[in-house]
Amino acid sequence: MFLSITDLFVNYGKLEVLKGVSMEIEEGEISLLLGANGSGKSTLLKTITGLNRPISGSIRFQETKINGMASYDILRLGIAHILEGRKIFPLMTVLENLELGAYSRKNKREIARDIEAMCERFPILGQKRKEQSGNLSGGEQQTLVIALALMTKAKLLLMDEPSQGLSPLLVNEIANTITGLNRDGLSIVLVEHNLRLGLSIADKVYVLENGKIAFEANSTDLSGVEYAQKIYLGG
């Protein structure tokens, strides 16, 4: 199994956030994680990449147990995490951001080649490579965030709300980017409030409720309205 989570419990102090989450994610799929605010979606992603420590349960990535490992070691195994809220290094140039994305890698020639590839894939980054990234527009910053994560050479990308605060036109662009990456072989776990975006690209849907996976299905099984009911009215 590609990513396998078994009976995961996570607390913030005394507050129980995840209460026995189990899920199996297959290679090459886009998995959509839905749930109301505060249901623990971001917590789950953060726990997978070692930013939170679980109380109990296990997370295995390609048969390696990763819970308890440090974030930078999990990244080296091939899981990258795009944090919520469009996080970049605002005072650095686009190019410097991309270089930092490859920080855990050693091969300089390969890194230079990948930066060129990124600038071709996302021409706007190529054009603005010397500009301070804090001055880019919201959509451009989100593109940079994705490119930054791709520079880590991940096999699995966890994305937390990539469409947050973007105009509908840019949301479509992000959707195209995500499907494009998936076609090139990247597996993706997506947390997204924009149901239309999420359902249009996901292979599988998981609904997180009260700290557990309340429901899982193929994205085509139900309509958007039915998913919304499951999330907000209970599965």
């Binding site: 990244l75 996080k87 301070q132």
Partner: protein, 310 residues
């Protein structure tokens, strides 16, 4: 821009080299003090300016270095030339041991922790009479042994000694912040979570920056001890830590050159108001408030604004 700043640095170094030939002993003495503060602010900038954690205990490491070096040479008869690097390594290791748990605390909580740590070191120096001679101060510290016939008990030789190591330390810091590791430090300052998510071992690098910064402050302390040859705990009290913070802020954090200029300016400013000692810290505070209100990037910010850069 790059060419102009190189010329400015070269001119400053030439002026610094010429000062002992041209100026009075009093001026030489003040410039030595300014250079020691410049080492302190530059090393402080590595932690707070480049890496991010706000620290209020830099004078504690300065004091640990001064007392370590003095006690090593007094008790064991060790030469300054050996005590100086040993002091640097010892303060580095000590800071690593303190920084490893302390840096798990983030933000304001870390700043408050360093404040109390700084005060703790001061109280330790003040009360460990057997080791430090407490409030009576430590006397009889020898100047560095002469090498190549240079007698380091003279003011001019001390001046050049401090200048030499000061330049060496600043060059080291410059190369360090420009390196791959330096880039990682800046990424922690700009966004620690993101830095962690792209595979940077942020806790390791924070402790590294803290320890190097402290080790260099310790070496400045060693230079101070063998130049003044009299140590008193009050030289390393919390007020001095605050002064280092103010100097660095006035010059412009995260620029390396800014805090060095800040150290120079504030030292001379404090000399100017020497006749009214109670006014010194009031004026210093006003200076700090003005900087924070009008140009948080300090003098370097004003400089960039004049040049039309961001």
């Amino acid at each position: 821009m790059f060419g102009a700043s190189r010329v400015a640095i070269a001119v400053s170094i030439i002026i610094l080299i010429l000062i002992p030939q041209l100026a009075s002993n009093y001026v030489i003495y003040v410039v030595i003090l300014a250079m020691l503060y410049a080492i302190l602010t530059a090393s402080y900038d590595l932690l707070t300016g480049y890496t991010g954690p706000l620290s209020f205990c830099h004078a504690a490491f300065y004091g640990l270095g001064a007392y370590t070096s003095a006690i090593l040479t007094l008790r064991t008869g060790m030469s300054f030339w050996l005590a100086f690097p040993i002091t640097g390594v010892w303060v580095f290791l000590f800071a690593a041991a303190v920084g490893y748990p302390a840096l798990k605390i983030r933000g304001h909580y870390f700043a408050v922790t360093t404040f109390f740590f700084g005060h703790f070191v001061y109280l330790f120096l003040l009360n460990s009479r057997k080791l430090t001679n407490g409030p009576l101060g430590l006397r009889g510290i020898r100047p560095p042994d002469s090498i190549l016939g240079i007698d380091f008990s003279s003011l001019n030789a001390s001046y050049y000694l401090v200048l030499f190591f000061g330049v060496l330390i600043v060059v080291f810091l410059h190369l360090f912040v420009k390196s791959r590791i330096g880039r990682a430090l800046v990424s922690i300052r700009e966004n620690e979570d993101l830095a962690e998510s792209i595979g940077i071992n942020t806790s390791f690098y924070k402790v590294l920056a803290f320890s190097i910064s402290a080790g260099l402050a310790g070496m400045a302390g060693s230079l101070f001890a063998h130049f003044f040859r009299l140590l008193h705990p009050s030289t390393f009290a919390w007020m001095i830590s605050e002064m280092i913070v103010i100097m660095a802020l006035v010059g412009g954090l995260g620029t390396l050159i800014g805090p060095i200029i800040g150290a120079g300016l504030v030292t001379f400013f404090l000399e100017l108001v020497r006749p009214a000692p109670e006014l010194r810290f009031i004026l210093l505070s006003i200076m700090l408030i003005l900087v924070l209100l009008f140009e948080p990037k300090g003098l370097m910010g004003i400089f960039w604004r004049i040049r039309g850069e961001k």
